[in-house]
Amino acid sequence: MSERYSRQTLFPPIGKEGQEKIRSKHVLIVGAGALGSGNAELMARSGAGKLTIIDRDYVEESNLQRQQLFAESDALEKMPKAAAAEKRLKQITSEVEIRSIIGDATPEKLEELAEGVDLILDSTDNFETRMAINDISQKFDIPWIYGACVGSFGMSMTIIPGKTPCMNCLLKKIPIQGMTCDTGGIIAPAVQMVVAHQAAEALKILSENWESVRNAMVSFDLWRNQYTNMKVSKVKDEGCLSCGKERTYPYLQPENMMKSTVLCGRDTVQIRPPKELEIEYTEIAQQLKSLGYQVKGNPYLLSVEMEGQRLVLFKDGRALIHGTKDLAQAKSIYQRIMG
């Protein structure tokens, strides 16, 4: 064991034996934004054996305020986040195997990546992907750690198949219109706080200190000085379609996925959410305006100009993204607005 991890092996619950275990593990990090770059850095510094990181976006100037792996040059060069993350992680350590994938974390892609993975760290910005992670976690018996934040508020929960309830037991349905960092803002310390919780849980799991895993959903607000642990053990639902006795893994089924289609000859992608929504335009419009976007609307649709593209949003959640033929880019724009 190298001197490098001496302060971590000196921590009694890990020790040299725990460090060997961490060293033998493979972690899949879904998303390389704020949470993803924080989680990836901590896993790399802690000496995990292998990291796989998937992300579909590129580094923008507005990311630099909170996404810790990225430097100014990455934003100037519009580097894909997964590639920029890999570059910095390799400067930090040569001892960890880093595999970065520039692409959309679709359920199919995640199933493929899950092979041989010991832990999935959620670092996404939307519940559609989280519900797919949740089903994959159950299907392949891989623990995952939920993390999310907006403003000064954040939360995390550890899901261990066979032991804890799953996200589908808890939420039953995907929350509609969660606040996102693009609509509610975000301060960097809230990111760090979620990463601290996710990474601590990850070290417990990787070092096989199962008895120390937090059996609660933790929520906190650093500005309002709030912190609470909500116990969830009673929530486990035998009838849950993701983790119960008769499972269908609903979020791996095509009918429950977001549909995106390139509209031929129009340089436009249509996005259709898995279930019809009922959108309140005024709230979204106001948030987007305060962010500096050009927003126009009428009772039937909302039109938003953003970075060369135009998003037209209908009341039922359907949207047209004009100015692109790239499905992943269009989905990314949609989920940044809609959560």
């Binding site: 999310a148 954040g154 349905k173 309002r224 609470t228 909500m230 116990k231 009673k234």
Partner: protein, 76 residues
């Protein structure tokens, strides 16, 4: 009596971190509806905890229980 706590942006909508009301006998769903009207909140997909334990919509609140409302968050 019951203490009802509001997390994150719900706190700002209510204007206070917690309010004290007698809501014993009500279900979480009934309390959500009551609060939604009183404070103009959207509580459909907000999680509820009773005495720091997750509570479903049909759970009945007892006298002395502390209820907390926590919005799930998607950003990251």
């Amino acid at each position: 009596m019951n203490k009802i706590m509001f997390f994150a942006h719900l706190r700002d909508s209510v204007g206070e971190e917690s309010v004290t009301k007698d809501v014993s006998g009500k279900t979480i769903a009934e309390l959500k509806q009551m609060l939604a009207e009183e404070y103009e909140l959207k509580l459909d997909s907000v999680m509820a905890a009773v005495n720091e334990e997750f509570a479903s919509d049909d759970e009945v609140i007892q006298d002395g229980d502390t209820v907390a409302f926590i919005p799930p968050v998607s950003g990251g």
